[in-house]
Symmetry: C2
Subunit: 139 residues, 2 copies
């Protein structure tokens, strides 16, 4: 049986975060000692590691909730888990694309600025002022 601090060290999830997860029902409320302290069973480490790892991979809490419910369900849950992960992968791809576009634009902006020796007006501020300079096309 673990105290909350032990659980925190074992999973590298901060203590207040563990309590928060309990509050939102992501982690089941554990038993308490006579002095009202949380005592966790070993399974809590597994579950919390799962949560942490999924969070690190960028899954949001509701997706993790879905994944956790698939875990406890028995039966053919793999396709659902697969679908969730796949949707998430697509989201990541979109984020990467978008960030790359931003990267290019800011890079271009900086290059323009450098080439003009920055004498009169600042190119960075100019570009930001005028959306017409912008090269990305979405929304």
């Amino acid at each position: 049986m673990f105290g909350i601090g032990d659980l925190s060290r074992a999973t590298e999830v901060k203590v207040p975060t563990i309590r928060y997860y309990e509050e939102i029902g992501l982690l089941p409320a554990p038993v308490r000692t006579a002095s009202n302290r949380r005592r966790y069973p070993p399974e809590a480490v597994q579950r919390l590691r799962f949560i942490r790892h999924a969070r690190e991979l960028g899954f949001d809490i509701s997706a993790i909730r879905d994944l956790l419910s698939l875990k406890t369900d028995d039966g053919p849950s793999c396709h659902q888990a697969d679908a969730i992960a796949r949707a998430h992968l697509e989201q990541i791809d979109r984020r990467i694309e978008r960030l790359s576009a931003l990267r290019d634009e800011i890079g271009q902006m900086l290059a323009d600025c450098a080439s003009r020796a920055c004498d009169d007006q600042c190119r960075v501020l100019e570009v930001l002022s005028d959306h017409g300079h912008c090269r990305h096309r979405e929304h």
Copy 2:
């Protein structure tokens, strides 16, 4: 002179967001009509477009505040603007790298799952449970 709706249409920034920007001091409080409605001068369009464009590029509000103060300052502000943009660029690069690592890991996870025909245990859930399967190295 514009009403808030006109300003919203001209800049594609939503009305409540404009009011929010005023509240946090990003956009100066405009004059009001006798009936208490906001009336914006043409310069507001410029400023709000600047803000919107910078937000789209992922600058956070405090960075935009810095950039705006550079704009109104006269004198050699280009190097500072450049430094802000450059720091931002580095941040974006780091985000892209991190996302790419996540992408690879999730992609690998899905590939593993597909190759195993998903009969017994789901690979996706397994990988998420066990951080040891993880291939990214930071933090």
